[in-house]
Amino acid sequence: MSNLKLEIVTPHGVIYDGDVKVVTLCGKDGEFGVLPQHASLVSLLDAGVISATTDDNKEIVIAINGGYAKVSENKVSCIVDGAVAITDEEGELSENLSKAKELLKKAQSSDTTIAAAVSKIESIKK
């Protein structure tokens, strides 16, 4: 099975670069999922959460504050202004979580977006 390459870059550096099975993006017109062999697409991204499942079935969650996603055959490139990867490495989860929340709040998106994103983050935390 072919894989999807996911890249998330910000002006401050590359946040994530790796192969995934499926990725869910927070588009301006609503959330959408991308599987390998997706048609080419460019979309505006809203502030929210990008989640993906890696090859070894690990969940990755990354909070972003808006940007673009370009989907071509086997590659998803996200160009975003700011991003925080929410990982559970070395017990930094809670710290990352608060950073992510702050990022979303700063993005000045509507309260519902923030609430949705935060609840999503929190459900993953459990």
């Binding site: 002006p11 460019v42 673009y68």
Partner: protein, 293 residues
């Protein structure tokens, strides 16, 4: 001939200066490493956003004959030109700032000779000071940004510029800054940020697949261009910061070496003067003894 005491004092003072310059060099090299890392990390974003802009504009160009966006509207003879000059906030970095200002001045001359009005937007204390002294009117002046560039502040600054471009107040915007090449070289870089040249955004390979876009094409392109411009100014700032540190490192290295040479030559003349004093004393003693006989 300077007295022994005077030379000794001079040596001490030069040594003091040397200590300062050496410390500044070390600080700059540490800061340079950080600035370099920031610039490098940011490079990935530059490649991606240019790629994306290329593909979208190519895609729009395919469906329409030309791109009908104000950002691409090129004017042969601009009437009002905004020049953004980026310099450092601090001095002691060799010809770093004067090179940038020189380049900016040659642009000012060029455009004014062509009959255009030049508006200056200046970032960094050094350029502000320079143009204030020249009594040039500054459209905007920002300090504190070039020594600690952040994306948000850069975006805030450029938004004013872009808005005035869209309102038709200015026809052309260029950025002049000194950029980092490597540890020992900097070069003055010029970015024409507005209007964008559509030819610069021709992708190397045009993909045959149709690109789906949401929301509609034009607002996406406009937003992307905005982002691109924001990023360009941010990159110019971090590039300039890296260049500033490398220039300062070099200048301070040269200063430390010069101080060392100076101490050496002063030590030689100190020794000579001491020798001379001893010889004179000896002669005096000997001639004294001679006269006693």
């Amino acid at each position: 001939m300077a007295s022994l005491k005077e030379i000794k004092r001079k040596i001490k003072s030069v040594k003091g200066t040397q200590k300062t310059t050496r410390a500044m060099k070390l600080v700059s090299s540490a800061k340079l490493r950080r600035a370099e890392q920031v610039a490098k990390a940011s490079k990935a974003y530059a490649i991606k956003i240019t790629e994306m802009l290329e593909e979208i504009s190519a895609n729009i160009a395919k469906s329409q004959d030309s791109i009908d966006s104000p950002y691409f509207k090129s004017t042969k003879e601009p009437k009002v030109v905004d020049i953004v000059v980026i310099t450092s906030d601090k001095g002691l970095c060799g010809g770093f700032n004067s090179q940038t200002i020189k380049q900016a001045n040659s642009f000012i001359e060029e455009y004014e000779a062509a009959g255009a009005k030049v508006r200056l937007r200046v970032i960094g204390k050094k350029a502000i000071g320079y143009y204030k002294f020249q009594q040039r009117e500054l459209e905007s002046a920002v300090d504190g940004l070039s020594s600690a560039p952040t994306y948000d502040k850069a975006a805030e600054f450029i938004k004013v510029v872009v808005d005035s471009y869209l309102d038709g107040e200015t026809d052309k915007v260029i950025i002049v800054h000194n950029g980092y090449v490597n540890m020992i070289t900097q070069e003055v870089r010029v970015d024409n940020i507005l209007p964008l040249n559509p030819d610069e955004f021709k992708p190397d390979s045009i993909s045959t697949s149709e690109l789906e876009m949401e929301p509609d094409d034009d607002s996406l392109l406009d937003e992307l261009i905005n982002r691109y411009i924001e990023y360009t100014i941010y990159y110019a700032l971090i590039d300039s910061l890296a260049a500033e540190h490398s220039a300062r490192m070099q200048a301070m290295d040269a200063a430390t070496n010069n101080a060392k040479d100076m101490v050496d030559s002063l030590t030689v003349s100190y020794n000579k003067a001491r020798q001379e004093a001893i010889t004179t004393e000896l002669i005096e003693i000997i001639s004294g003894v001679e006269s006693m006989k």
